[in-house]
């Protein structure tokens, strides 16, 4: 370890007062940018007493790719492919959030079929995001690799749908201001229906294996408890917020897109611990499936692009707009200020993972190092979105 051998006198030990509890010194450890379970380049400076966490300071910026500076130097449509690289698990919902904000900025209407397609693609993205998250979370808990293989098998099926629709597996760049880029190829709807009909088997296996499993219960219950008022005050959104029992889902609150046309329920947790967050994702997958089934029945052929919107020299009127959607990780918002030119004057992304990490220290204090990984896994961060 350290090269120099310190003689006994040289080591100034703090005076150990026999009366007080024998305190151990704090060990400064950096769970650094390259770590198997930090889901990317996320670093935490952890002060450990033995194996118990006493202080935890997250460090960001290792993937700060200057998304907003680039957004200001490009046209509105130019930064649409960059939104795929924000949260690189859910490119469709990123596109929708950006398209929604620009449509609010410029006052553009979207035809009916495009709205239905957007709901279908957003719910498919939510399915594969929650499946991957559960795979990674169980991976962090020690089930090395196996649940991730099952989750990625489901994810591959959905990526095939995205690829046949938009041409790329992960970076779909599919939505435009005022609709979608292209209509579904023949047979796409049937394939999507088959996948949605077979998806419950995956959730049943998962629930059978995971939900009742006492190792998972032992590792996640009463770990990282988030109280409802701290969650609201810290701006937490998405499944993490609903796990603490706060009924706030932007699909119901804002009613954007065609979500008011579908009947679906919002799962709520009671304790706000990691087990509830895990269960939120499992239950939300079931709700997404019911939305998808309703959407498949109601969708009708029709135009998918608002003809009046100019693609080339698109100049929204002067003004500003803040549009937000319920992304799989929370509230994803875009705040755009337009000065009438081709480039936005200010292009701001409100990332859910970045704000959800505000309470990471509060959740992890007092837990062991192994629990920190499980808590971080349940917060579900993606570094492309945290660092932008």
């Amino acid at each position: 370890m350290s090269a120099t051998v310190q003689t006994l006198e040289a080591i100034e030990r703090p005076p150990v007062s026999m009366g007080s509890r024998l305190e151990g010194e704090l060990l400064e450890v950096s769970m650094g940018p390259q770590h198997p379970s930090t889901h990317g380049v996320f670093r935490m400076n952890v002060a450990l007493e033995g194996e118990v966490v006493r202080k935890l300071k997250p460090v960001f910026g290792y993937l700060h790719r200057n998304h907003e500076k680039l957004g200001e130097n490009m046209s509105y449509l130019g930064s649409m492919p960059y939104t795929d690289r924000l949260d690189y698990f859910c490119s469709m919902t990123n596109n929708w959030a950006y398209a929604l904000s620009v449509e609010k900025l410029a006052g553009i209407k979207v035809p009916e079929r495009a709205e239905y397609l957007r709901v279908i693609l957003a719910e498919l993205t939510r399915l594969q995001n929650h499946a991957s998250l559960l795979g990674f979370l169980l991976n962090d808990m020690g089930a090395w690799g196996t649940p991730l293989m099952y989750a990625f098998r489901e994810r591959e099926k959905i990526l095939d749908l995205f690829e046949s629709l938009s041409g790329s597996r992960m970076m779909c760049d599919y939505m435009r201001f005022g609709g979608c880029r292209c209509d579904t190829p023949p047979g796409w709807m049937e394939r999507a229906k088959q996948i949605v009909d077979r998806f419950p088997h995956f959730i049943d296996d998962l629930e059978q294996l995971v939900v009742g499993n006492e190792v998972v219960i032992g590792r996640t219950q009463n770990v990282g408890i988030l109280s409802p008022d701290l969650a609201i005050n810290a701006g937490i959104a998405g499944p993490m917020l609903r796990a603490s029992g706060v009924n706030y889902d932007i699909r119901k609150v804002d009613g954007y897109g065609f979500y008011p046309r579908f009947k679906f329920r919002i799962p709520l947790g009671e304790h706000g611990d990691t087990y509830d967050r895990l269960m939120m994702r499992v239950l939300e997958m079931r709700e997404s499936l019911s939305i998808l089934k309703q959407a498949f029945e109601q969708i009708q052929p029709g135009p998918i692009m608002n003809p009046k919107v100019k693609i080339r020299a698109f100049r929204p009127p002067v003004g500003e707009a803040y549009g937000r959607i319920e992304g799989p990780k929370g509230e994803l918002g875009f705040y755009l200020i337009s000065d009438g030119g081709q480039n936005p004057y200010r292009y701001r992304v409100r990332p859910p993972s970045f704000v959800n990490l505000t309470v990471l220290e509060d959740l992890c204090l007092g837990h062991t190092v192994a629990d920190v990984m499980v808590i971080l896994g349940s917060v579900d961060i993606v570094m492309g979105e945290v660092d932008r």
């Binding site: 910026g61 993937l63 200057n66 130097n73 960059y82 990526l159 597996r169 492309g384």
Partner: protein, 207 residues
């Protein structure tokens, strides 16, 4: 050991049940079929790397499915994702801490030259400014098949490495450095914006 065994002789002996090989072939055959990558993902390309390691595009068919978290046990560093200037010193330090026959795959346009984020103030324009890169894979993100192709390309490269003689493999030469200076954080940019010993950009005749 200098010139390879001619194939006719080898196949003839094989008919009589005698297998002929050389130390170099054995050494390279063993190394190329069990490359252990470093568990190290930066951005979207890392997700495609995980998809490659998953069951559909299975990298285990090429012997590379054991992703080692610690650089001490890894032979291959797949730089998968955008290399930012804040992350560059860490990547070079990890490369220095890897055991010696080590290889680097620059996966994705970002690791090769900054990719779509090239004009960002915090984005390093390519990882080959600081560490030597063996295989480049274009794409944003490259498909899992492209990563498998890069893996095979790397195996071909390992197979052709000599064990002795003038042009023997880099890691066998005593004078070849096995670690490179870690860039420092400056006030406006990284201290040395590139490592001249490693970074040999093509001399392009400007019109």
């Amino acid at each position: 050991m200098t010139e390879p065994i001619d194939e006719r002789l080898r196949s003839e002996l094989q008919q009589h049940g005698v297998w002929v090989t050389s130390m170099q072939e054995l050494y390279n055959w063993g190394r190329k079929n069990s490359i252990w990558p470093l568990q190290f993902g930066l951005a979207c390309c890392a997700i495609e790397m995980i998809a490659t390691a998953a069951s559909r595009y299975d990298i285990a068919r090429f012997g590379g499915e054991i992703f080692r978290p610690s650089p001490r046990q890894a032979d291959l560093m797949i730089v998968a994702g955008t290399v930012t200037k804040k992350m560059a010193p860490q990547i070079v330090r990890l490369y220095n801490q890897m055991a010696d026959p080590k290889y680097v795959i620059a996966m994705g346009a970002c690791a090769i030259s900054g990719g779509p984020f090239k004009q960002g103030y915090n984005v390093l324009k390519g990882i080959d400014r600081y560490i030597p890169v063996d295989v480049y894979i274009p794409g944003c993100p490259p498909r899992p098949e492209a990563l498998l192709h890069a893996f095979m390309e790397l195996q071909r490269k390992i197979d052709s490495q000599k064990l002795s003689g003038a042009d023997k493999a880099e890691h066998l030469k005593p004078e070849q450095p096995s670690e490179f200076p870690v860039p420092l954080f400056g006030e406006h940019d990284l201290e040395s914006s590139a490592n001249p010993g490693v970074f040999h950009p093509p001399e392009i005749e400007r019109a």
